[in-house]
């Protein structure tokens, strides 16, 4: 099967993803998830999932000294625990064919997606560190003479790199309170969307019990959706598509996601109209 996985960034809300990925693992073998695209904390979670090391992903959240008082996510982003998670993950190999992670270069004001699935340990460490390097909080990571930051600041739900593959379906976990239509309708109808809105302050301000709650809720919600979508098995694509349609219909608050490509498309349309009236060439 050709299954894709998209994980968005969301700082400490990444704990939801860990719970959700545990639920997904009960239905789909990580080996079958051949194409992954993930941003920011999602990149670490995706790497942990695909290398079958979700416990390493959890390590950071459970090791940091979170007492009853809440801490800012910057504590994590600058902590040794994050470095340790990256070090441990970079020793593992992923089972997917491609894993795209978005990066931004502030100097050239450009965004690009790099496949990190087959990077060597040292290079991988740098790429994972750059994936969570928040502008203003962390220093950029120098890779191939480019200063790179977390690409989630521009494209937080990086479904775009998976458009080029003919995938059976994609599982997308994000944290926005919208029922997005991604890129094109044809592509969108193949996406199983699992979103966790929760309390937005938990993205940046949390304690240990918040993290535990997020993991549990992540597991429960993802399991409920997986139960519904994969009721006829994870290989019955026709049944899965009809379930995706039903899920989309249930949440009528549909929003077309504005990404750079959509802006580009709209500019092209505007340009054609203006050219038709001979206003531009």
């Amino acid at each position: 099967m050709n299954i894709g996985l998209v994980l968005s960034g969301g700082m400490s809300k990444g704990a939801y993803q860990l719970g959700a990925l545990r639920a997904i693992r009960e239905y789909i073998d990580p080996k079958d998830v051949r194409f992954i695209s993930a941003a920011s904390i999602g990149a670490l979670n995706a790497y942990a999932y695909s290398s079958d090391n979700l416990d390493v992903g959890s390590f950071m959240w459970h090791s940091i000294n979170l007492t009853h008082s809440r801490v800012l996510v910057t504590t994590i982003l600058r902590s040794e625990f994050l470095t340790e998670v990256i070090r441990r993950l970079s020793k593992k190999e992923v089972q997917c064919e491609k894993m795209y992670v978005p990066y931004i270069n502030l100097k050239t004001r450009s965004i690009f997606y790099t496949d990190i699935a087959e990077k060597e340990e040292e290079e991988l460490k740098e790429h994972l560190a750059a994936a969570v390097a928040m502008p203003g909080i962390n220093h950029p990571v120098l890779i191939n003479e480019l200063n790179l930051y977390d690409g989630a600041t521009v494209d937080n739900i990086p479904v775009y790199p998976l458009m080029q593959y003919n995938l059976d379906y994609i599982i997308c976990i994000h944290f926005d309170d919208y029922n997005y239509t991604f890129e094109s309708r044809y592509f969108d109808n193949k996406i199983v969307k699992i979103n966790f809105t929760g309390d937005s302050k938990h993205s940046i301000w949390f304690n240990r019990s918040d993290v535990k709650d997020m993991e549990i809720q992540g597991y429960k919600k993802a399991k409920a959706i997986m139960d519904f979508v994969f009721a006829d098995g994870p290989e019955n694509t026709e049944a899965i598509y009809s379930k995706i349609e039903a899920l989309n219909a249930m949440n009528s608050h549909k929003v077309r996601r504005t990404t750079a490509d959509i802006i580009n498309d709209n500019y092209d349309k505007l340009k054609k109209r203006l050219a038709k009236r001979q206003i531009v060439e």
Partner: protein, 62 residues
């Protein structure tokens, strides 16, 4: 062009409503205004220039 057709329609409607002279005057006024706006757009809009100024617009998959 569609826009010229619309101006003609406006001029005909104005003629029917206000008489020949007023209709012609309104038609000419609308025509001149539209032409002036088109000229202004021609001078100021450069799509390539606009696109190059928007950061992070072009995405690459490596």
């Amino acid at each position: 062009m569609k826009i010229t057709k619309r101006i003609k329609t406006i001029a005909v409607c104005a003629t029917l409503a206000c008489g020949a002279i007023a209709g012609a005057a309104i038609g000419i006024l609308v025509y001149q205004t539209v032409k002036a706006v088109e000229e202004k757009i021609k001078k100021t809009i450069n799509i390539k220039n606009i696109l190059s100024k928007i950061p992070f617009l072009k995405r690459k998959v490596k």
